[in-house]
Amino acid sequence: MFNSIPGTPQSNSRKISGVKIFSCIKPVVDPSARFAINESKTWIKTQDATFVASEADNYALEEALRLREKHNGEAVAISLGGEEAAKVLRAGLAMGADRAIQLSDTKLRGATEFNIAEALARAIEKDGGADLVLTGVQSDDLGTGATGVMLAEFLGWSHATVAIAISANPESKTLQVERELEGGVIERVELTLPSVVTVQYGANQPRYASLKGIMAAKKKPFVVWSANDLGLTASDSMLEVKELVVPEKKSRVEILSGTPEESVTLLVEKLRKEAKVL
């Protein structure tokens, strides 16, 4: 797969040495920061914000690195966006990805899951396809886990969501995945490769970038593709954003204030006399 020619369409007869895995990384505004809504009330203020890789994408990248270490091949980090995407890609390279592709174009700005998935699919095809694409189960901003599944449909590949364990069998072109369903139920599925798999939080322990990794990252291939390179025109969202709001508090909560001693005294009294649970 190393010597595949960019632009060659994916085919099932592709000769591979090892597995080629894409790891999609979404840059998001640091979720630990306090968010402010922008002037047009359509999104949060992103100016001067610190961007980090969406947390679940770290588990996806770690899974990609482990599969590559086991089966050889390559792990390619891919992200959409401007400097914030370049930043998370550099972090991905430092963790151990072999090369990076940044999809950067003002035409791709403000993209929804649908547009992001389409752009990723075009880029993966342009790069000659892959055996496996991994994404985090959901992002820390839109947070719905739609992009990976949409990507699978754009590529015409099989997929599985909410993976907590993945093992590949490149010879038989299959993948075994354990999925976490509601109520602690685990489903085991076998997929025919190529596939897209979304990786659940906690599926592994993502490694930290070593100093050596950070130095090595600077020499790794890093390409930037525009919307034109992908044959895309401006991303046209089929949805109109009306308003971003802080949810109304329908809350019934009674906040007990004072020093810690005062507040817990008040709490115990309420629990005994009002709620009658103590």
């Binding site: 947070g143 599944v149 949409m150 599985a160 602690g184 685990i186 949810p247 909560v253 204030s257 810690p260």
Partner: protein, 324 residues
């Protein structure tokens, strides 16, 4: 027409299916649209809930490819119905199943998807859907730009399933769809239940649960000491389990245990929706968290906004003193 994709497991419609019907009945009335329910792989499924619902029609599709869930078969089956009838809205649960096929269906139909909806409004003639973003810290209101089918997934618990309008006599229609040509590229190898070990939180009457706010594993003793004092059990949120401070069986939430104790004390838990669905039915909820914006305060009855490292030891001491 609003098309509800009913979900079922082990021969029964799930509780989220009923919530979908409630959402569809209300949105349908506001928008002047009839409601139809689609059940895939309906053989052996108890459809009684739908049969008495005030909806226009129940559509069932049965095929060997629909005996077990497979996103490819699900997408093709729903697409066949949608292509024929052009529903205004297709709605499924924001569940591990709904979110496994609805995004594919949206791409296959080239139609917009609004995932993670919690509410809707009719503004003018337009349907505006409210979806959760930023881990439920904010809501984004969106509307489809053009006429035609829109897809949405509804977060479980957003609409009250027990307020479904009944007394209807929906028509029943069996639809045939040729699914034989869809390649089989996903095979289910079976379901299993993650071990609960000896931790049965479901029967505990008092639960003290700790979250990421405890900062490190060693600090979890604060939780067990308070639980001991209260005569209760210890639980945890997902990040605690992911960090391996506690085994998986202590996890409360959508991917762990669902609990409804008499008293639930959430310490250092911000309250991601996945956690809330596992504990919001507790009779009395106490939240201790230093972030006043934490979503856990929306479901709590009593809250203390302060440093847990000061509050919890004080609470433990007080409870111990009272109980002698």
């Amino acid at each position: 027409m609003i098309l509800v994709i009913a979900e079922h497991r082990e021969g029964k419609l799930t509780s989220s299916s009923k919530e979908l019907v409630v959402f569809a009945q209300r949105a349908g009335r506001d928008l002047g649209l009839p409601v139809q329910a689609l059940v895939l792989g309906s053989a052996g499924v108890d459809l009684e809930t739908l049969e008495t619902a005030k909806i226009e029609r129940i559509i069932t599709i049965d095929d060997t490819r629909l005996n077990a869930y497979d996103p490819d078969a699900w997408v093709q089956a729903v697409k066949a119905v949608a292509d024929q009838r052009n529903p205004d809205l297709i709605v499924a649960g924001h569940t591990t199943q709904g979110m496994d096929f609805m995004p594919r269906l949206a791409v296959a139909l080239r139609r917009p998807l609004v995932p993670g909806c919690v509410d809707y409004a009719k503004i003018g003639d337009q349907l505006v859907l409210t979806r959760q973003v930023f881990n439920a810290k904010m809501n984004l209101k969106v509307a489809p730009k053009a006429e035609g089918t829109c897809l949405a997934t509804l977060v479980p618990g957003s609409f009250p399933g027990d307020e479904m309008e009944t007394g209807g006599t929906p028509e029943k229609e069996v639809v045939q769809v040729d699914l034989a040509k869809i390649p089989v590229r996903r095979r289910s190898l079976g379901l299993s239940k993650a071990s609960k070990g000896n931790v049965d939180l479901a029967s505990a009457s008092v639960i003290v649960a700790g979250g990421r706010g405890l900062k490190q594993k060693e600090n979890f003793s604060l939780i067990s000491e308070l639980a001991d004092a209260l005569g209760g059990a210890v639980g945890a949120s997902r990040p605690v389990v992911d960090a391996e401070w506690l085994p998986r069986e202590y996890q409360i939430g959508s991917s762990g245990q669902t609990v409804s104790p008499k008293l639930y004390v959430a310490v250092g838990i911000s309250g991601a929706i996945q956690h809330l669905v596992g504990m919001q039915n507790a009779r009395c909820i106490v939240a201790i968290n230093k972030d006043p914006e934490a979503p856990i305060f929306k479901v709590a009855h009593y809250g203390i906004v302060d440093d847990l490292f000061k509050v919890v030891p004080a609470l433990t001491k007080l409870v111990r003193d009272l109980r002698g």
